[in-house]
Each structure stands twice: as C-alpha cells, then as structure tokens.
Symmetry: C2
Amino acid sequence: MYYLGVDLGGTNIAAGLVGQDLRILRKGSVPTKAEDPHAIVADMATLCRRLADEEGIPLQEIAYVGIASPGIADREAGEMIYANNIPFRHFPLAGLLADALGVRRVFLENDANAAALGEAKAGAARGAKNSVMITLGTGVGGGIIIGGKVYMGSNCAAGELGHIVIEKDGVPCTCGRRGCWEAYSSATALIRMTKEKMQADADSLLHQLAKKEGKVSGRTAFEAARAGDAAAQEVVDTYISYLACGIGNLVNIFQPETVVIGGGISNERENLLRPLRPAVVAESYGGGVVRSPELRIAELGNDAGIVGAACLGL
Amino acid sequence: MYYLGVDLGGTNIAAGLVGQDLRILRKGSVPTKAEDPHAIVADMATLCRRLADEEGIPLQEIAYVGIASPGIADREAGEMIYANNIPFRHFPLAGLLADALGVRRVFLENDANAAALGEAKAGAARGAKNSVMITLGTGVGGGIIIGGKVYMGSNCAAGELGHIVIEKDGVPCTCGRRGCWEAYSSATALIRMTKEKMQADADSLLHQLAKKEGKVSGRTAFEAARAGDAAAQEVVDTYISYLACGIGNLVNIFQPETVVIGGGISNERENLLRPLRPAVVAESYGGGVVRSPELRIAELGNDAGIVGAACLGL
C-alpha cells in the first residue's frame, strides 16, 4: 500500500510517493500557479500521476492522497475555506483532485498541522500521543496533535500558536494584535532584535558577521555569540527567554510528551536546546512534580508537509 | 441508572446522587479532614451511602462513582499524584473508595477539569464538542474539553490556563512565574487593581462602596462603575482588556465552540459579557473570517464539581 502526499506552497507544489513505513520513495515539484486554484488542481494531478508512473505504481495501489495547504482547511468538507496567498474561498480542493486523479479518498489539512502530524507519525515526536510543533521561521507556526490526530478546533482554525499574546500591548504583530509570541520568537523577530543591538553597539562582532554574510539573518546573533561577542550573547539570551516563555505557556496548557521545534532557527539545534531546556522547566507549572515534555528539533525538514499529508488518512 | 458525584474541597466534601438526565436528585456534604487522606475516603463512603439510602437507591443501581479533587489526578491509575492542601502523594483514592463502598467503578479527575466536563455535558457548553472553561476566582482555573472528553495531557497536569504568561516579566504569580493571566484576571487581581485605583483617587465612589461593604471585593469596581464612577470604570475597562487578551489567546489556540466563564466574577453576567464579546473578537485570529466561539456564563455554579464528577464515566 502507498500514499501520495502533496504539499502546496506559495511558490511550489511538492509531492511525494510514500511507502507504508512513511518514507518518501520518490518526490517532485512544480511551480504553483498561485492565482488560479483550478490550475493548481490540474498541476497536482499531473505531478501525482508522474510520481506514481515513475515509480511503476498503479494509482489503484495508492490508498489515498493527502494535501497540506496554507490557510484554513475544512477537512470534513474537503474544502479550503480561506487562504492568504491563494484565492481559496470555500474551494472544494479535495473533491476536485479526487475527480482529476480518479481516486476515491483525498484528505486535506492546513500545512502547519500536517507538518506537526508528520513529525508525530514519522519524525521527532514519533510515539507521542500528544505533541505540539512550533515552526520558527518568518512567523511562528503551530500544530497540535492530540491522541495521535490533528486538533483543528470547531471551525478548522485552531492551533495559531504564534498568536498567543505574551506581552500585552507589546510589539505590533502582523495579525493585528500587539505582543504576540510570533513578534518575539520568529526568525523575523530575532533579526529585528539583532539589528537593534547593532544600532546600540557599534563595536559588536555582529557588524563584521553581517557584512560578511551581506545581511543580518537568524544565524548572525548565534554565530557572534559563539565567537564570544557579549552583545550578541545578550540578543541570544533575550531571544531564548521569549522562546521559553511561549513554550512554557504551551506546556502549562497541553503538557504534551514532546514539543517539536522546526523552522530556520531550529538549525541551531543543541545551541538552541541547551539553554532552552532549563528555561522551559523554570517556566512550567509544577516543574519539579510532573514530568516535563521533551524538547526536540524537527527531523523531517522540508519534507514534513509531504509526509504529514501522506499520514492524513492513517 | 444513577451516578454518584463527589466533589472534594479543602473545606467540605460535597456529593450528589445524579440521575440519567444529569440532574442532582439529592446532595449533601461533610467537613473535609484535610490532614488525613484515609479519613477522607471513609467520609466519602459514608456520605455516598447516606445519599443512596435517603433516596432509596441500592448501591448496585449506581453505575459508577466519580470524584473531583483538587490537585493532579491520574485518572488511568485512579490515583491523586499531588495536591496542594491535602497530603496526596500518589494516593490511590479511586481504588480505596471502590473498596470502601463495595462498588466496581470509581473515576477520578481534577476538580477544574470535572467542572468543565459538567458544564460541557449538562451546563453552559451543552452540545459543544470542544469547549474551554475558565473560573475567575481566587485564581484563574481552567479545563479543556476536546471531543466531549477532558483533555488531561500526557502527565495529567494539562489545562493550567491561568498560568499562561500574558505580560512577560509582569506581576509575580503564586506559581513562581511573572505576568501570568491569573495575576490580571482573577478576582484577587481585580481587587488589587481596585485598591490601587482607590489609592490614586481619593474622591472615587469606590471608597464609599468599600466602606459600606466592609471590604474591597470583586464586585466593588463593577458596582461603582454602574453608578457612573469614572475611576471605577477605568478599573473595569482594564480588567476586561486583560480578560479579553487571555480569552483571545485561548480562542487562537483552541477555537472551541464555547468558552464558559465561571467563578465569583462571572456573577456580573451580562455586565461582564457585553464589553467582553467584541473585545475577544478583536483579539482573535481571523476574527471576521471564521466563526468566533460563544462566550457563556457557567450554569451549574457550586454544583459543577458534583455534576462533572457524575459525568466522568459517560
């Protein structure tokens, strides 16, 4: 038995043919025609057929197709209620792809939720019943897995974990609120903090590293701190303290077995986890009395959407 | 078929005999011997027998007994892992009560979780699949209902919704963190805000009301605001804005059908809900695009623990 996982992004449609062990046997991608939902369906179908063909697997041997899409996905209706970058407005994406491919079962899920499911089934939270995934990238994405399934809430819009206010009336967030966790723990926020520190400290190593790299990135502060720069260490410490605050909130709410951390900043791996672990325990309710969740770096990287989509019918 | 619900409090053990319609047919209470867990078991058994006797129901017709207890309850093991005010340390409360009563099925749950379940099955969140209950009292209590069941997390300690930081490095909380929601939205917090305003404004009506009542309570600011006092209105507005911030966080995380508000402050009913509703929508992600949860005042009052306990085996 095989599964097809499709990860719809703003730039590319990626898809993978996945085996029963949840490994990707073959993958491919095509550009996203983001302005035309029907073209997206046609391109998804072509890509899926091609992967199955190339692997020599008849479509009848595909148990189901899963789609991970940005936006609000109604998985019961199989429709995209809304997306930001693609004109989905109650668009029956699952049914249209099922028709185009001639398959019976197509499942649909929000991409951050699908990634969390992928990590829970075949990645860093493997074996956990309850896990939470956060993605530290341009924003802070979130996915909640309860009892091995995506928790989507009553209107399919749950899990906006980046939009928990941790500093009332704080930094404006793209969502319209002020002080959201995303405004302090995204890569974007780390870059902002790094630039602010550079303005305040003309002698910091941060300036040399930024010049060498051609820009300030989410890595700049971590690298300069490793080289012993005190100003950069302050940036990293501040960033970690905000990250621990938000993860502590999630622990007090969910007490999951595992918190999975993905996105660009997670490439720091142990440099991130080492200071983060004790800080999260200190921020957790009953820290000493109950077992604290494991903090783990995501394992599936860019494939999390494909693998998660391929897990939607499990 | 009947159920027995037992609500263990620091001061009293309350219990109720509950019918299949989830109404309490008869209830009673005895003082809690808080220093002696075994005496608590014996007193629970005596109280349960008495209620069944008085109602003329043989214990064999009781489907099960449910216990709501403060602290961390492991419902699978039937033991109280820990409590603050009662010396429970991995105490097998469910099994001991089953033995003492000679019944087979005794269920155990944390009291805030049980109250949330009671409201979900027989109160303000009746019919909702996913709901969240918050209790605005001495602290801010929380309970999470997902798919009609209590969500307890992987270590039985989930749902500490009062201990979500909403103001990093803010007011110290009893839990050891700073800036927890509880430190801004509990009755205790409202009283603190009211007293602070009284110190700043010697002419406010707050002084007269506090003198009349003999103390500052969670009602003082609401009452003075209703009488047109501007200083009191500022306190109420501030309190509502913190409350909306925390509820907005819960909406963005859970997107439940219903948020149930209980505890002393909820006695303000529409005076609380009227300003709260638009404030919560403004604090919610995708406010206009997706349906916002209903905000409702808890219906079961002091019986929520009994009724919730009686629902534990449903």
